[in-house]
Symmetry: C2
Subunit: 376 residues, 2 copies
């Protein structure tokens, strides 16, 4: 449930959640401003007064001292806890989380910003929940494996494994839709983690067998991370020259920790001058075929690979829109060039959607092409 | 409310929504796969049989013919509608939306993918709702204006306008938290749009007056869009050379339609060789101060501006982590150089968070610096 900073509706949501669930997770509304009311509403709904946690207060004051500032009075309320609750450490911001156990129920309040929410969930909430589960004597565990696919749509992928999905009971197989990729989640319930994994393994193998050309990874794998691993395995380096994707390919490739080991450079060659100067694209080529062409995509890939002295080179040029399209080169048309590890190849795609959608899809397709060549 | 592909829980959610709201908006679950059950559940909950819409079916078949394929049997159900419902055109995908009016209530089903959801909402749902409101004789309108700020935190910004926020009734002022920026939403209720705008105007002026150095735009403005507008007004062009942000600055700047008019090139200079070759950073400078230094940030800004022949140049170099940090140059340390329109300036910041957080914050700060110089 998503609920605004409104006391009445927040109370209703908390009461509804407490009426049906053993565990209630709430994120957001723990900041210092007047509309941050989650702490107060939990106190009200559970009938417990708010009490200052003196240790928490000292910590917030010391964060502000570290910034060379006095703590604004508004931040004092971040050290308040409903009676009987305990704080959850926040390694990043000033707002501690809150854990309140009420009988066999638990309510957990966490800050909204992902930079705080994610580490607090990982470092405090999940260990607490595992511990609580073990103390309760509950033995059944649910384990999931996610397989990640590119280069195929959801219904085509599902059609190939229809019999596997139809016959399921435990484990179950469910399609998820990710950003520019298809995912299948295999979920098993068993008395322990090993038993659950043993149920998952044959189903995973069967799906991988049917969709071998498309499964690039599993669980927390990312396409850029898998590409990085393949480059490291080959001891190879990569350079990219992109036009319409505007740095998006470089941005995704460099999301991977340690990517500086294989990512040598990226060029965002928006102007023709930049295409010629930085990637050595011949001005005649630009004139004859236009900047958005199969020939220029190949020249960008070859040129950036040669200039950077890398083993692989990628070129992208296209029309992201909304302007710049024509009858023969419509908005969404993108050419890709791939150099290294074999003859330079080119690819042509037309992507639907608005400017940001075209850019995003072109970035995803560029990574798909890189993966296809590297895994070969 | 968010609910999984589970018939029982989806029915509960639909019943709860219909019990309290005149308008129920549902997104997701209109696809062709077996877990796409929203259409069926709405039919069940409202007691209306599903009927094939022959026009919708022909359209789906023709989409597949256009792709040179036969329609998979699974897609047939996308042309089904609960009796009495009408389809909502989907300009992008195969799944039409569904509008079902039940007495004075309306239920609207839309596909989940934003590329389909957003245009369908804009082109069909909002016009329908406006029309419905007008037919109902309801005259009161609610209008909002969002002011967008950078370079200041939420509590500091709120402290500066505390009296404006405290005295409010109509309009109200509420802080929102955006990605790397602070937002204030001013909302007024009146008998018509002009009357609402007249209530908003003086409050907007008062907030702008207090926070003039930080308000970069309003409503749908983006920082990169405002930067683009300032560059166009000056007839100036820009080039960027970024290391740790990995193309993120170029990616955001080129999100703006028409950015090719002023964005000349972007360099993602991950290796020292690339920094020297592409931006002309002197190897001695890299050796003496290290790649992550104030001096190299300035040299990147100057170098890319000179080489590209642009009016402004931006340089970014830092340590995104998780590796590569040291005692004197910790993870999160980023230097920025800004050239053009005045003496070359450098800035040093240390960002908290993991690799992607550091990258994102460094990109946001780079844009903030550009805006600061361009509006001067």
């Amino acid at each position: 449930m998503t609920v605004g900073d409104n006391p009445h509706r927040l109370d209703e949501a908390l009461r509804a959640a407490l009426a049906r669930s053993d565990l209630v997770l709430v994120s957001g509304g723990l900041g210092p401003t007047t509309d941050d009311i989650t702490r107060e509403r939990l106190a009200e709904v559970t009938g417990r007064p708010l009490i200052v946690d003196p240790v928490g207060l000292s910590r917030i004051e010391s964060i502000f001292r570290g910034r060379g500032a006095a703590m604004p009075p508004a931040n004092r309320k971040q050290a308040m806890l409903p009676e009987g609750a305990v704080p959850i450490a926040n390694p990043v911001g000033t707002a501690p989380g809150v854990l309140l156990e009420v009988g066999r129920q638990a309510v957990i309040l966490l800050p909204g910003p992902p930079a705080e929410l994610v580490p607090m969930t990982r470092d405090s909430v999940i260990p607490y929940l595992i511990d609580r589960l073990e103390r309760s004597g509950e033995r059944a565990v649910i384990r999931s494996r996610v397989l990640r696919l590119v280069g195929i749509g959801e219904s085509a992928a599902e059609a190939r494994i229809a019999d596997i999905m139809a016959g399921q009971g435990n484990p179950t197989v469910a399609p998820l839709t990710g950003e520019g990729e298809v995912q299948f989640r295999i979920t098993a319930k068993a008395r322990g983690p090993e038993a659950a994994d043993a149920l998952i393994a044959p189903v995973e193998a069967a799906i991988r067998n049917r969709l071998a050309d498309h499964v690039y990874g599993r669980d927390d794998d990312t396409l850029e991370g898998v590409i990085g691993g393949l480059l490291i395995k080959r001891g190879a380096r990569l350079a990219v020259a992109e036009s319409c994707t505007g740095g998006g390919v470089a941005w995704r490739l460099t999301r991977v920790p340690g990517s500086s080991a294989y990512f040598e450079r990226g060029l965002v060659v928006y102007s023709n001058q930049a295409k010629a100067e930085l990637a050595g694209v011949a001005p005649e080529l630009l004139e004859r075929h236009g900047a958005v062409s199969r020939e220029v995509a190949a020249a960008l890939a070859d040129g950036v690979m040669r200039r950077a002295g890398t083993d692989f080179g990628l070129g992208v040029t296209g029309i992201a829109g909304p302007g710049g399209g024509s009858d023969c080169k419509p908005v969404g048309l993108v050419f890709f060039g791939l150099a290294g590890g074999g003859p330079t190849a080119t690819f042509e795609r037309r992507f639907a959607g608005d400017r940001s959608e075209v850019k995003r899809r072109a970035v995803a397709y560029a990574l798909e092409l890189l993966w296809g060549r590297l895994r070969a």
